[in-house]
């Protein structure tokens, strides 16, 4: 009795300590800026409440819908690629021999270890048929110059490829970890029952890492809607051949820093927040992410 009563508070305290650091950072860099953005979005530069004025005003901007259409198309490609290839690669990785697995995991993760901007600069070189090591392939596809490769119609796919290259490695490693969590006995039993590799993946592994996939989807939607660096850098490198408001985040940046209109910028970021939240809620409820096992 006596030992339990002294033990419990200590465990609780340790829990607070672990969560504390994260909570402080979350408040400082997540919650407070969000609240500030919502406040900015509902007011004008004289501090008056303007209701939804900033939202309707930015919505009426001729750049608003194209930016969201661009990001929508990009998200379709990006989420599809992420879902299919990350899961596929992780399952394949899991089936490999131990030593090859370690090497491959390292290789998959490597691009993600490069700082974001640097990895995009790598792509700028890769995409220029005059400098690229894969120039013959680009020329075979009919692209003779950087401006031909970055034609507006190619952009969503190009950004998807760049994002996949930089970001998917980390997720493959996470999924691999999730696959390792599946009890060996379950897989063994399935094999004894005569399950093929395909059936094993489809009927056992995939359902058992479903929550991880859902978690990845939520974060990928949030990160994907905030696409900024890729179009911004490609635009600068191509002397502005891509619109400076290609993605909603870029448009918000234009509002804030070209037009000195932080309230319009905040309205667009709140739009993005709502979009991310709606997607997250849908995914959470459709996949039962928060259900307890």
């Amino acid at each position: 009795m006596a030992t339990r009563s002294t033990d419990r508070p200590r465990r609780v305290n340790a829990g607070y300590l672990f969560v504390g650091g994260y909570t402080v950072l979350l408040l400082a860099f997540g919650v407070l800026p969000t609240l500030y953005a919502i406040w900015l979005a509902l007011t004008n530069s004289r501090g008056q409440l303007v209701g939804l004025g900033n939202f309707t005003r930015t919505f009426a901007d001729p750049r608003f819908l194209p930016a969201f259409a661009n990001i929508g198309l990009y998200l379709v490609f990006w989420l599809a690629a992420l879902l299919v290839f990350v899961v596929l690669l992780a399952i394949m990785l899991h089936g490999r021999m131990r030593r090859t697995t370690a090497t491959l995991r390292f290789l998959f993760y490597l691009p993600g270890a490069l700082a974001g901007v640097a990895s995009i600069v790598v792509w700028l070189i890769l995409l220029d048929p005059n400098a690229s090591p894969v120039a013959p392939l680009l020329k075979l596809l009919g692209y003779q110059s950087l401006s031909a490769t970055i034609a507006p119609g190619n952009l969503p796919v190009l950004f998807m490829i760049i994002a996949f290259w930089t970001g998917a490695g980390g997720w493959i490693v996470v999924m691999y970890g999730a696959l390792n969590n599946i009890s060996h006995e379950v897989l063994e039993a399935a094999r004894i029952d005569g399950a093929t590799v395909w059936q094993l993946a489809w009927r056992i592994q995939l359902p058992m890492i479903g929550k991880w996939v859902a978690y990845m989807l939520i974060l990928a939607v949030a990160a994907g809607t905030q696409l900024f660096m890729e179009p911004q850098l490609v635009s600068t490198a191509s002397f502005g051949q891509i619109s400076d408001s290609w993605s909603p985040n870029q448009l918000a940046y234009q509002y804030a820093f070209a037009a000195n209109d932080f309230h319009g910028a905040a309205a667009i970021s709140v739009d993005l927040l709502l979009l991310g939240l709606i997607c997250a809620v849908v995914v959470v409820f459709r996949t039962g992410l928060f259900d307890r096992d």
């Binding site: 409440l49 209701g51 900033n54």
Partner: protein
Amino acid sequence: MSTSPVSRVRNRRWPAAVTALAFVLAGCGSADPNVGGGSAAAPFQPVAQEEGSEITIWVDATRVPAVKAYQAARPDVKIKMVTYSGGANGSNELQTKVQLFDRTGSGWPDVVWPNTQDISWATAGEKPFAAPLDGLVPQSTLDGYADGALERCQVNGKLYCLRNDLAQVVLWYNKPLMDQWGYTVPTTWEEYQALGEKVAREHPGYLVGTAGDAYSEEIYFWASQCPASVLTGEKAVRVDLRDAKCTRMASLLDTLMTAGSMARTTVFDAGFIANNASKVLLMPGPSWYGQVLFNETFKTPAGQIAAAPPLKFAGDQETFTGSVGGGIWMVSSHSKNLKAGADFVQWVTTNEDFLKTSGTYPADKSAAKVWLEKQASENYFAADVAPVFEAAAGQVWPDWAATTQYSQEAIYSSTILPALTAGDTLTSKLPDWQTAIEQKARSLGYQVN
């Protein structure tokens, strides 16, 4: 009976919350960011000055030697140099940073090398970022700049910047090649078009220019006096690409692009440098093309490149030309050492010994003379560029709005260049270009008419 007091309180709170939310959403102020803003600048009040304090200078990589040369000439001045993008390629880095400094109330640099568009926002508002230089720079120095060179620095009767260099567009050509093929250098755009078509037939692969640069509109459409943006008020512009002075240039460029002697890519493209640089017969372009493009980038051997006067349309009375860049220096109104800042911008724009080493044509008249003498003594050009440069410096069409807050280069780049790459004609894209300029101008609070 079944409702507990707690839930009753909760129920009562709901309408209150809804009312509060409705109040917030209904609002009362105007969401229009232009209402009430844009008030005229108050008389300039410098911050407390500290004699001899350190000045921070922001420059792009190209301007680093200028700061170093100044430091060598004035070793007692304390300087902190910071390199940044210089607003190249339409980036608004300076504006972004200054707006954040404005919000936090500190951090401004003392002297900056901005891009031309920066002049527009830096001189606006109640407390403009740029410090007026009247009084800090003696009138005798100001009189030394080329005629009209300081025009883009003058806002509401005050001088907010000093001009570093002029970038008047001239007609560059390969002299030995022209002589060898028996061509005469064109003097009108009509002759230029005819020669371009002839070159395409007789020497396929050779070029008379490119329409695929971000600044091609400043080379061709500015010279054609096209009203892509003409200021009609402080924040009002006229945009009319349907004007005959725009369509004539669009159709000229289309004809030559179809013929094949007008390129569709930028001259700084790696492919252009590798494959086309040696095949440039003619190339309308700014004065800095001579050193920066032909000598340093294309590595064209000495004795080949020469400059001819800007072209004019046969039907026009007067010759006008365009301008690509032409840098400026600004001093910050937040500077604690305005004197040092003003001395720096004066020195780098007028010091003859330093300026003669630069790749660009100095805006200061006597420095320009020394610069031209040095060009002649180096014998890089096939003919003396001095008379052409000096004449063209005064022929830049004054109505083209060079200091609007939006960059014509960025708009041309994002609307026209992908279309040219796809093989479309310029003429077919003029309406899109028009819309893009109008939208950009409106989004920055300009009135478009």
